[in-house]
Symmetry: C2
Subunit: 330 residues, 2 copies
C-alpha cells in the first residue's frame, strides 16, 4: 500500500480537554462514576466547569489524539472533525496542524461552540470525563472528503462518533469510500458505556465494515457480553481481519486469523494520567501497520506510545515518539 498521500485519516469528535486534579470525594459530591465518560449538554458543561479546580486546556478528542500521536511517530495523517470559529476551535486547529496533521474541515461559523471534555484526574491516575460534544456533534457526511479518505491507507474512527447521528452517517460514508478505494477501515470502541449504548450496531459494524478493531478488554467483553476476556477473544478473532485488544498493565493481545501475539505493556516509572492510553496505542499500532511492520512490532510500538502518554498529564505526546520508539526498539 505505497503511493498513498496519507498513512491514516482519522475521523473524530474535535474536542479540547479541560483537565483538573481532584480527589475521590469530589467525584462523590458531583455524583460521578470514576473512569467513565458521560455526555452532557451545554448548560451542564457551564455549571460543572464552575465547580472544577483550576484546570489546563489541551487539544484532545480521541481520534485527534491518535492523529497527533501518529504524526509524532513520523506518520502522515489527516483529521476530519468539526470545530466552531470560537477560541477553543482555533486552539484545536492550531494544535492539530502544529503537530503535523492535515486538518482542512471548515469550522462552523454559528451553531454550538467547540466541544470540550471536562476531565477529573484522581490520585490513582484514573480519569473521569464529561463531554459536551458541541460543534463536533454537527459533523455531517458532507464534511467527509471521499478523495481524502481514498488517499489514505487506513481510515480510523472513534466509536464515540456513534453518539451524534450526523457523525454516524459521516462515518458510514467514509467507510464506504475507503473500501471502494481498496483501503482499510479501522475503529476504536472508545468506552464500555459507548459499547452498551450502541452494541447491536457495533456488532454489525465489526462484522461487516471494520478491518482493524481496537478495543480494551472491558469494551470487547461488553461487545460480546462475555464474563471473561478469553471468551471475547474467541468471538472477535472470527469477526475482523485484525483485532488489537488492550489490557492496561496486562499488555495487549493482537489477533489476525491464526496469527496471535501476547504483547507486554511497556514498563513506566509512574502512571500519572491514563487519559489517551488507548488513543496512543492505536497511533503506534497503525503507524507500524501502515509502514509494513510485523504485527508483533506494531503492538510494541503501540505499547511504547501508550507508555509515554500515561507518564504525564494530557493525552498527547510530550516528546517525539519517533525518537522514543527508535531508542526502545534499538
Amino acid at each position: 500500500m505505497t503511493g498513498t498521500a496519507f498513512d491514516v485519516v482519522g475521523i473524530g469528535n474535535a474536542m479540547v480537554d479541560v483537565i483538573a486534579h481532584a480527589d475521590e470525594q469530589f467525584l462523590v459530591a458531583q455524583q460521578l462514576t470514576k473512569g467513565v465518560m458521560t455526555l452532557i449538554d451545554g448548560p451542564r458543561a457551564e455549571a460543572f466547569y464552575a465547580t472544577m479546580p483550576p484546570a489546563v486546556e489541551i487539544s484532545g478528542g480521541s481520534g485527534g489524539n491518535t492523529m497527533a500521536g501518529l504524526a509524532s511517530l513520523g506518520g502522515r495523517g489527516a483529521f476530519i472533525g468539526k470545530v466552531n470559529t470560537d477560541e477553543l476551535g482555533r486552539v484545536f486547529a492550531h494544535d492539530m496542524r502544529a503537530a503535523g496533521v492535515a486538518f482542512d474541515v471548515p469550522p462552523a461559523v454559528d451553531g454550538l461552540p467547540t466541544g470540550r471534555c471536562l476531565i477529573i484526574v484522581t490520585p490513582d491516575a484514573q480519569r473521569t470525563m464529561q463531554t459536551f460534544l458541541g460543534a463536533g456533534a454537527e459533523l455531517q457526511p458532507e464534511d467527509v472528503d471521499a478523495e481524502l479518505v481514498a488517499s489514505a491507507q487506513v481510515t480510523y474512527m472513534e466509536g464515540y462518533l456513534w453518539d451524534p447521528p450526523g457523525a454516524k452517517q459521516a462515518f458510514l460514508k467514509a467507510a464506504r469510500a475507503a473500501h471502494a478505494a481498496g483501503r482499510k477501515v479501522s475503529i476504536s470502541l472508545s468506552d464500555p458505556f459507548c459499547v452498551e449504548r450502541h452494541r447491536d450496531e457495533f456488532l454489525e459494524l465489526v462484522e461487516h465494515h471494520v478491518d482493524i478493531l481496537f478495543a480494551n478488554e472491558h469494551e470487547v467483553m461488553s461487545l460480546y457480553r462475555t464474563q471473561n476476556f478469553d471468551e471475547a477473544l474467541q468471538h472477535v478473532r472470527r469477526k475482523c481481519d485484525i483485532a488489537a485488544l488492550t489490557r492496561s498493565e496486562k499488555g495487549a493481545v493482537v489477533v489476525a486469523g491464526n496469527e496471535i501475539h501476547v504483547v507486554d505493556a511497556e514498563p513506566v516509572d509512574e502512571v500519572i494520567d491514563t487519559t489517551g492510553a488507548g488513543d496512543l496505542y492505536a497511533a503506534g499500532f497503525l503507524y507500524g501497520l501502515t509502514n509494513g511492520m510485523p504485527l508483533a512490532t506494531c503492538g510494541r510500538i503501540g505499547a511504547i506510545a501508550a507508555s509515554e502518554v500515561i507518564s504525564h498529564y494530557g493525552a498527547r505526546p510530550e516528546v517525539a515518539l519517533a525518537d522514543l520508539v527508535k531508542q526502545k526498539l534499538g
Copy 2:
C-alpha cells in the same frame, strides 16, 4: 481416551518440604538468591537445616504435588519416585496414598536418605529452595513400570528429573512406553535455572518427545532465549501439541495449534506462599484435559487450583479442589 486405569501417572523427585519463614536479611546472610531452587548435598543440607528457624514438614516434590492436586480434583493418579525406608520416606508414602494417589515404587533400603527441600518463605510470599535430592536422585529406569505408564492417559514429568542422570533415563523410558501405548507425554520445565542447565536437551525433548508442555514465562523465555514473552510464544506454538504458559498474576496463555486462550489468573485475597503454584496449575489443567474438557476450561481449572495453593503455606491443597472447582465454575 477412556478405559484407562489412570488419568495421569506422575514421575518426579520424591521429596519432603521443610518450610520456615524468614526475612530477606536471612537470605542475604545465607548468600541465597530469592526465588531460586539450588541443588545441595547431604552435608550442606544438614548445616543449613541447623540455621533454619522452626519449620514444618509437608510432603512435596513438584510432581508429587501435582499428583496430590489431581487426586483432590477427583482425578485418578499414580506416582513414580524414590524414597528411602527412613522416617521421611514413610511420611511421603503415607501422604501420597492418603491423598488417593497410587504409589508402589519400593523404597531404597540403603543408600541416601529421603530427599528434602529446605524452603525459606519471605514476607513477599516468594520461596527460596535448597534441594537435597537424596534417594530421589537414585530413581532408575527399572523403577518405571511400563505397564503402569501404558495404563494412564498422560505421563507427566517434572523438569527437575533432568538433574539426576538415572532419573533422566527413567524419564526417557517412560516417554517411550507412553507413546508406544498411544498415550500422551507431558513435562513441566520446573525452574528457569533448570532450563539453563539443560537447555539443549530440553529443546530436543519439547520438539520430539513432549505433547503437553507446562512452563512459566521465565522458563519458556529461557528455553528459547527470547527477550519477551511473545517471541517465546511464537516459538513454542510450533513445537508441541499443547503448551500452557503461566504468568503469575497475568494469568496464562494456552496454545494448541491455531487454538489459543488467554486465561486470567483466579483472584486471591492474599498471596501467602507461591510454592506449588505451577504444580497445581498442571494438576488442574491435566484433570480437565483427561476428562475431555475444552482447553479454556482446563486453563480455568488450573488457575483455580493454583489460587488455592498460593493462599496458604505449603504446596498441597488444603481443601477438596473438586468442590472448589464446582463452586467457581458454577
